[in-house]
């Protein structure tokens, strides 16, 4: 269960203002560009400071401005795959995916590498692999940080249709294999329906619709 209560974050053109409880394991957040979807993920990951917020994941309070609780990003156990992936360009694939230092003790590094089929890429530089491979490496890196929640920001947004079709099965496999709660940002409603059990639409910083499948 993810509780996002009294969230207020001033943005350039409007205020992100959200109160919602997400009971399903995989929730898609849809909406037009600039609606505040990425800002919401940043808030959950602890990368932005809200004016007010209560953020709770499976009973663990990550932010509660009323009680002065703001867990640092490194203490939240949130696996975040941003839209630009942010793979460290100076490190090889192996050092990228094991950067978190957890070594995948909880979910098994071998299982992650196998599921995402990236064993053969380990010694390559991240700048030398394809877009689809980079996507899988970023997913593996987030999974191996032992997250209680996975945030995926437009994971297929920058890929062409052919590559999308190749990467989507990996996302489904991650969803079904590791059973980690997921917030999946996309502006593609078909993609949202394919992956998520519940869809939340955000427009101008507010929730305009919430429906479960």
């Amino acid at each position: 269960m993810i509780r996002l209560q009294n969230i207020v974050l001033p943005l350039a053109n409007f205020e992100l203002s959200i109160s919602i409880e997400l009971a399903h394991r995989v929730t898609a957040i849809t909406g037009p560009s600039g609606a505040g979807k990425t800002s919401l993920l940043d808030l959950i990951a602890g990368l932005r400071q809200p004016k007010s917020a209560l953020i709770e994941v499976d009973g663990v309070v990550l932010t509660d401005t009323m009680r002065g609780i703001r867990l640092a990003p490194e203490r939240r156990a949130i696996g975040y795959v941003p839209q630009d992936l942010a793979l460290f360009p100076h490190l090889c694939v192996k050092r990228n995916i094991f950067y978190g230092g957890h070594g995948g003790a909880d979910i098994g590094a071998d299982r992650v590498l196998e599921t995402l089929e990236i064993e053969s890429l380990l010694d390559r530089r991240v700048t030398e692999i394809s877009g689809g491979e980079q996507q899988r490496v970023a997913l593996a890196r987030a999974l191996l940080s032992a997250p209680r929640l996975l945030l995926l920001d437009e994971p297929l947004g920058s890929l062409d249709p052919a590559l999308k079709a190749k990467v989507l099965p990996y996302l489904r496999r991650v969803r079904d294999e590791f059973k980690i709660p997921m917030l999946y940002v996309t502006h593609d409603s078909a993609e949202a329906a394919e992956i998520a059990e519940e869809t939340v639409r955000v427009e101008n910083g507010r929730i305009s619709r919430q429906n479960a499948r």
């Binding site: 990951a45 490194e74 156990a77 950067y99 890196r141």
Partner: protein
């Protein structure tokens, strides 16, 4: 070249290296803070750090002389611990450090600003604290600009004159550096000696810049 000349060259290079080593940790920390954080008084600190670049070096030397002189606040404190600063090698190192700090901070700051903040943010979400992220993400990604800053500040320290002569004087075998000795030689009409030292000084600076270029090329490959 006489043995005094070699001693002078060794001392100058040593003092420049020590001053760069001294300013490196606080310089990098300050550069990162200026690049990444907002804090009260930031613009004042920014201006203070740049000041030695725009104020005449002798004026900076005068400030140092008043700070570290026997009646100065820091001088008195160090005197109490049995440490003399003014007109010793320590004064040379302090003058070189103060004069070369702005170049290091400016280059390193620009280098940190050039690193995509998203890398640092995502590194934090992976469970790593700010210090680990600094040493494994920020520093390696900014190394080109930082290396350029180190070379620039070393070269600046090699050629420093105004602040050094104010706070350390020009005592042969004790505080004399290549720049001070060039000036001294010209004053005595010993132009040939001055030219010899100038060539040595240029060679050292050339070698430093060349070595950094080679290092950068090797790292890029």
């Amino acid at each position: 070249m006489t043995s005094e000349d070699w001693q002078l060259i060794r001392f100058t290079v040593w003092a420049a290296l020590v001053s760069v080593a001294i300013i490196l940790p606080p310089g990098l920390a300050l550069a990162w803070l200026l690049a990444r954080r907002s804090w009260p008084g930031k613009s004042v600190v920014e201006t203070l750090v740049t000041l030695p670049l725009v104020v005449p070096p002798v004026a900076t030397g005068l400030v140092l002389l008043n700070l570290f002189g026997r009646r100065g606040p820091l001088g008195k404190l160090l005197q109490g611990m049995g440490i003399d600063v003014v007109f010793t090698w320590r004064a040379v190192v302090i003058a070189l450090s103060v004069m070369s700090l702005p170049l290091l901070v400016r280059s390193a700051r620009a280098a940190f600003e050039g690193v995509n903040e998203r890398y640092e943010a995502i590194a934090r979400t992976l469970g790593r604290g700010p210090f680990h992220v600094f040493f494994t993400v920020s520093l390696p990604l900014a190394y080109r600009g930082i290396l350029a800053g180190i070379i620039l500040s070393f070269a600046r320290a090699l050629g420093e004159f105004g602040a050094t002569i104010m706070v350390a004087g020009n005592i042969p075998g004790k505080t004399s550096t290549i720049a001070l000795e060039i000036f001294h030689s010209v004053q005595l009409g010993n132009d040939w000696h001055a030219w010899r030292l100038l060539v040595v000084s240029a060679c050292i600076a050339f070698a430093a810049v060349w070595a950094s270029e080679l290092l950068l090329r090797k790292k890029t490959r």
